[in-house]
């Protein structure tokens, strides 16, 4: 900035600009910079390596694991718990936890089952009731949390029991309620695959969207006279993404193809990430997670942010429960019990969302659930069932938590908390 420009923005020309504080001091590294790219990848790199390892090991030990049919199946199996994990990301970002997501999903499954059969409701109404119930549950958690300052793990542990009781009461003595196979949500979760041309087109569209958003960002930065980086690297990564997506689509299309359910899950994760990274509310989640007091002093309604995080998590859990019910074509007293709860939380953490709050992204739900589901699927193919699966998933979660904790500590130690 020249002296003339300085004068224009209100700095007297005779005021000495502190010697070393030139325009180049106040800079922001452009997004394409190699170091920046690596640091952006940094948090997801370990999980990508982990996923590669898991796939490599199971692919080598079992010929079926990497087949089109199995991967297509694995993708659709990830959807329900992955959706719940997406909600978990929101509460983890504000440094809280919801331990009742499994039970919430079970209640949603049960409401869907009971609503469709005993109450004879249309599908849309049954879904709406389940989602509204989850809004209520999330609000109760949020209000108890902000009013009474009870740690969220205790509140949601109480909620876990209460919701489980409600679920048992709803299902009654039958133990299982079958959802009609003709129901749309069952077909959506079991049989609906994108027609091949549509799948290819969607993959192309996704890559084009990635390219367009990057180019638009470069254009906006140029317009604002900010360092913007060049177009070529973005086009290159977009091209690589296009090739990767089309290849994946082609591979899945050799079997059943890309399911509606998985496409829906991907869209949900992308949308969640846009909300987290590009909206005011998303930024407030990060701010509150890092320092509630600083956020409050900045004029943010911290209570509202906490409450909204609990509500979003509960709604996502209910959505996951509805999808799970569709997948099984049934709601039972065991819906949402067992490892659902911990798998959802583990997925978010394994995927790279910190338990310490203020750090993470929606894609961690996608990456984390793929790891967990791959382990589960691979072990099942190797005829190792629940005991080994639980122990190995537990071990992976422990490793992920240790990685999170160690990196948190090193960030604090190096002043990058």
């Amino acid at each position: 900035m020249s002296a003339d420009e300085l004068a224009q923005v209100g700095v007297p020309a005779d005021r000495p600009v502190t010697s070393s504080a030139g325009a180049d001091e106040v800079r922001r590294q452009p997004a394409w910079h190699l170091g920046n790219l690596l640091s952006r990848l940094g948090s997801t790199l370990p999980i990508l390596i982990g996923l590669g390892l898991v796939w490599g090991i199971f692919g080598a030990t079992n010929s079926v694991f990497l087949s089109s049919a199995n991967l297509s199946n694995l993708a659709i199996e990830s959807v329900a718990v992955g959706t719940i994990a997406t909600g978990i990301v929101f509460v983890l970002l504000v440094a809280q936890i919801d331990l009742s997501v499994g039970s919430m999903s079970g209640v949603a499954s049960s409401l869907l089952g009971v609503g469709l059969t005993e109450w004879g409701l249309p599908l849309g109404v049954a879904i709406a009731i389940a989602l509204l119930a989850s809004v209520g549950v999330g609000l109760v958690y949020g209000i108890v949390f902000v009013r009474f300052n009870v740690p969220s793990f205790v509140i949601t542990l109480a909620g876990l029991l209460a919701l489980l009781g409600f679920q048992l009461w709803l299902i009654g003595s039958t133990g299982t309620i079958n959802i009609p196979f003709g129901s749309w949500i069952v077909r959506f979760m079991q049989q609906m695959y994108l027609p091949h041309p549509v799948a290819y087109a969607l993959a192309g569209l996704a890559a084009a969207g990635f390219a367009a958003s990057g180019l638009a960002r470069i254009r906006r930065r140029r317009k604002a006279e900010l360092p913007s980086g060049s177009v070529a690297p973005r086009l290159l990564t977009s091209g690589l993404l296009l090739v990767g997506l089309e290849a994946a689509t082609w591979y899945l299309n050799r079997a059943n193809g890309v399911s509606y359910a998985f496409a829906f899950f991907i869209a949900l994760v992308v949308a969640a990430n846009v909300v987290l990274k590009r909206t005011r509310w998303g930024r407030y989640l990060y701010a509150v997670g890092a320092s509630p007091e600083a956020a409050r002093r900045a004029g943010i309604n911290v209570d509202l942010v906490f409450m909204s995080a609990f509500v979003v998590c509960s709604v996502m859990a209910a959505l996951g429960g509805l999808l799970a019910a569709g997948r099984l074509a049934a709601a039972s007293i065991s819906s949402g019990t067992g490892d659902v709860n911990l798998n959802a939380i583990a997925a978010a953490v394994i995927g790279g969302t910190s338990l310490f709050g203020g750090r993470g992204h929606a894609y961690s739900a996608l990456l984390g659930i793929l790891v967990i589901q791959s382990i589960s699927n691979g072990l099942t193919l190797l005829a190792l069932s629940s005991p080994a699966r639980f122990m190995i998933t537990g071990g992976v979660l422990l490793v992920a938590v240790i990685v999170d904790s160690v990196s948190h500590r090193s960030r604090v130690a190096h002043g990058r908390a």
């Binding site: 209100g10 502190t18 504080a21 106040v26 317009k223 604002a224 890092a290 600083a294 900045a298 990058r416």
Partner: protein
């Protein structure tokens, strides 16, 4: 806060309503108790545009309580606050902001996981649906440049900045709302020599551009560099108001500690702003 207000980033303070002889902010007989503890009793304070008022006192003298009352963090129990001559009640941080009063807290002012731009605009982001990151970054750069702030990169997390740089970011943020009064709560408490100089330089710039500044500090050396006037609190009461040019460091210390009668003699009414603290 309106969008326009948030957008108008300037280091020039808006002129206070009325004549220049009128204080920007005037506090009269403010009292505040926390349970049985009387934090403030009948405290007075005037701040004029373009001056730096150092608010001094020992620990527990009520300095931070007074600052928090002005910033809307605690409401006063009784007493009167006038801004630009108009009586006001400040019951929340956003009301204080709307009245043109900004406060920079000693700690917990920034979110360490967010970058400088995000911290500067925290709570007043630009953009309707999606955040206008480019516009915010542009404003942040020009603001920091005008403040001669040495921030290595506006895109890295605040956690990687030094203590002085963080303080500069916190002060810069307080200016975004275009305040007329800036309250700084021990801005140099945790800083080294060079960083302290940087912050003091910034305080001088603020007053030169017409802001009223209240500086809460324990560092008498800082006070002598930047302050125009000194207001001493002791045990929740006014214990002397001095012009910097007319007072010795010993007098100030005496007023702070109550070591001699200077405190009683120096307790001044609002009409005797410049009376000396000791006979």
């Amino acid at each position: 806060m309106t969008r326009e207000r948030a957008l108008s980033i300037t280091t020039e303070a808006p002129l206070a309503a009325g004549d220049p002889g009128q204080p920007l902010v005037s506090v009269r007989r403010v009292t505040k108790a926390f349970g049985a503890i009387r934090a403030l009793s009948d405290v007075d304070l005037d701040v004029y545009a373009g001056e730096v008022v150092a608010l001094l006192g020992d620990n527990g003298a009520g300095k931070s309580t007074l600052a928090k009352i002005l910033a809307g963090a605690h409401p006063a129990d009784s007493g009167e606050i006038r801004v630009g001559g108009r009586p006001v009640s400040i019951s929340s941080p956003s009301e204080a902001q709307a009245l043109g009063i900004a406060i920079v807290y000693q700690d917990l002012a920034l979110c360490e996981n967010l970058d400088t731009v995000a911290n500067l605009f925290l709570g007043r982001e630009e953009g309707r649906f999606l955040l206008s990151e480019e516009s915010m970054e542009k404003h942040a750069r020009s603001l920091l440049l005008r403040l001669s702030a040495k921030i290595p990169s506006v895109g890295t997390a605040v956690a990687s900045l030094s203590g002085g740089q963080r303080q500069v970011v916190a002060i810069a943020r307080s200016l975004l709302g275009n305040p007329s009064l800036v309250i700084l709560d021990e801005p140099t408490a945790a800083l080294g020599v060079a960083q302290t100089a940087e912050v003091l330089n910034m305080i001088t710039q603020l007053s030169e551009s017409g802001h009223g500044v209240v500086l809460i500090t324990h560092q008498l050396a800082d006070v002598q560099v930047v302050a125009d006037r000194v207001v001493v609190l002791r045990q929740g009461r006014n214990n002397g108001t001095f012009r910097m040019s007319e007072v010795s460091q010993e007098d100030i210390i005496a007023a702070i500690t109550g070591a001699n009668n200077a405190g009683a003699a120096g307790r001044t009414g609002p009409s005797q702003q410049s009376s000396k603290g000791s006979p």
